[in-house]
Amino acid sequence: MMADTAYEVIIGLEVHVQLQTQSKLFCRCSTRFGAPPNTQTCPVCIGLPGALPVMNEEAFRLALLTAVALECEIPSFTKWDRKNYYYPDLPKGYQISQFDLPMSCHGGLEISDAKGAFPDRRVRILRAHLEEDAGKSMHDEVAGKADSRIDLNRTGTPLLEIVTEPDMRSPQEAKGFLTELKLLLTYLGVSDCNMQEGSLRVDANVNLHVSTPGGVVATPIVEIKNMNSFRAVERALAYEAERQYQVWLETGRKKGDVPKQTRGWDDQAQVTRGQRHKEESSDYRYFPDPDLVPVRVTPAQIEEARQRLGELPAALRSRLQSDYGIDAYSADVLVNQGRLLVQYFEAVAQSTGDGKRASNWMQQDVMRSLNERSMVIGDFPVSAPALAELLSAVQRDEIDNTRAKDVFARMIDDRCSASDAMAALGIAKVDEAQTVELCREILRANPKAVADLKEGKQKAVGALIGQAKQRNANINPGRIKEIFLDLARSEQI
């Protein structure tokens, strides 16, 4: 953002989430990703004449769970509508969606950034509704011959469309919202949120509120599509805000002066480009789908969903801070890794009684190892009790932190316990009397260092520690430092 500009970015998001059901929204075909084209289809999802949809109860249950987690109002009556338009990957000529009576509306999601990139905010959810996905068109241009192929495997996959109010004020906030939403959906287990496979798709609406001497002016709203990662969303929005400001400076065009524009994000060129479309606005001729009966939602169903929510990320963050004495940033990092990692952390922290140490090890060692190995916590070779055993040894001063990291590495490689790894590395508890004697020897051999220490030049102790470690790898450098200083001060050499 330019330093001297007085404008605010106004962002609203539309997120399409594929729900993790075994079968499609209105038929029993599998929703598995990556099957050979057109192998997961039936008369219903490919819209053959005479075929009829039947609602998948599980899809509705997952949608309900999400809506409750997003603190939405859940009307007792909701229905299905047809959105009519022609496209080759839409075999019925209409999409079954929800129009004026969505299954949920008026919710919200709290977002914050532990590093303070944006202020804490509640992003309001306008609505969340269920609909069926379309198929995929693949345009193949070989030897000048344009050839389009259609894969209907995806047709009919349940999608939850979540629409926010225009509540975000920066690209960072938009990214923050998406990250928090994805985390929530992952905690709920309703979607795998894999953007590469299209399980989560984002469109953004953005415009500016520019401060002028005559008051605040809104620029025309632009919809941005084709953003394939959260980073792309952030960059596209940043680009678009700046572009709109330049257009404003050049043309002075306000909202309402031109029709709403759709632009696509070009990730390679890092720019948004206007998408060509005809002048006429689309009319989807929504009307209630006569093939489906309306859905009635009872208070008991909503309560059941509430019971099934489990502890959600926001609540979990504050509990980790209060239960384990860790800071907000650490709680955020841990919670963002998912429910399983948090459970692992809690097991270690409870067993060792030292939440901070457990948190540091999770962030510095466990998570790094997972990243290096592209592994998830469920597959991690070091179990929570095993890590707790190691950290307890550190706590009891049986081993120093640096050595503990060697042990940890060994535990991963050998898939063994802390004690086995320590034994394998020849780590034994060091006798205090022996250590003091060793320190005396070293000090006697280094009178210059002793003199320095007496003058308060603590730097000199480093070399002494090094020598000690060479003689016995198991000694604890922290403890040995204390011994050196005590001996030098007391001149009991």
């Binding site: 053959l48 009519n84 080759p88 019925k92 209409y94 259609i150 001729r285 006569p290």
Partner: protein, 513 residues
Amino acid sequence: MSLIKASATDLLGYLQSGQVSAVELLKQYLDRIETHDGSIHAYLDVAREAALERAESIDRRRSRGERLGALAGLPVAVKDVLCTAGWATTCGSRMLQNYCPPYDATVVRRLLDADAVLVGKTNMDEFAMGGSTENSAFGVTRNPWDLTRTPGGSSGGAAACVAAGMAPLSVGSDTGGSIRQPAAYCGVVGLKPSYGRVSRYGLVAFASSLDQVGPLAATAEDTALLLEVLAGHDPRDSTSAKVPVPDYLLASRQPLGALRIGLVREHFGAGLDSEVDAAVREAVDWFRDEGAEVKEISLPHSRYAISTYYIIAPSEASSNLARYDGVHYGYRTDERAMLGELQESRQRLLQEGDNAGAENLDGTLVRMYRKTRAEAFGPEVKRRIMLGTYALSAGYYDAYYLKALKVRRLIRQDFDAAFNEVDVIMGPTTPTPPFRLGEMIDDPLKMYLQDLYTVSANLTGICAMSLPCGQTGAGLPIGLQIHAPAFHEHRLLQAARAFQQGTDWHIRRPDLC
């Protein structure tokens, strides 16, 4: 022994007792088709070989003493709007001329499970839109009583084949009268079940909230027999009702008792042919003589029924028929010709210096859609798609579709109130006897008014049937329509069967030479 005039229930007895085999019976019908369908054209396709094989297998199973289904060995004709696996299902449209569904409609499955012999697919107005079969892409069906006249529609083939003795039982579909009107015109019985009574799975949709599959036959008992096989809940159709299916044949044979009959004041007004009027009143008198109480009732919103119907049905149709776009199955325009045409238009515009015009030409996809649909749909289907598209468009939705839904509710309330006073409502099925082919083809509005008395049952979801109750001076059949509350088909069948016990209109057959 000629069995052509025997009722299906009698035929079932002959088959069970071994007086006739399924093959012998089928052959009589096939011969009859051979002789008469050239002039009537009730069938779009007759599955001669497959039907014979099936009849043979049923005979074999019977001879082995196997337990057989409720229609074992009876030939049944199926309207070409019902999907039959591996057997062309055209809906009377060029669009689906070569379309072979990969699955059976639920009702087709039920017929097969009942060991019926599917003899052929019957002609119809394209996508069931029309009341004369003149909208079929594959030629009209003629009325067996007078070959210059329409058999009605859209289930014209379904009614004509029963009337001409080319099938004892026939399955049709009724969206606004498409079973009852042709039944009336052809002098047979046709029943539109309550909405949700019969599965719509595999019925190619015209207007989903109005469509029902139903039976056509010569007698009330035969109709009951077939309805019992067709009816029942289907988990594949969300709108099918979980209401138990009674023994309709048994129910139809119950004594009539003290029936309260309502006559709709509005159904005996202007536009009603005097001969139809007289025949219907005479039939009602028969019931009165049998002890029924007859009272005049009013359905004040019935005068809006046609307008309401012709908003709702085309609206749903415009969406239901969107899938016929040439992409996945069915007809597609000649691509080479289309591309050539596009190229030509573009060059011409560019030569004329009209670059903007060239730029604005429809691309290949839109062009393919347009030409495919322009070439493969007939004028009536196009008319309704346009009507429906208009009614659902932004800015018109509230004034048309939404208002129609409200009026539909008012019409339903009229019927609810009426059924508090009477058990059944009787009246004419159609305003006139069957009209001449070609007579109304250029006057769609007049054609729509033929549905005046029938659309209400579809709009309200109640059941209704038509049965023969007289003839005009020229010997054309006249139909009596009976309405009953939803899921009271047994009451219709009971009244109709009682009437047929006391009269002989249902026994009369056209004189086919």
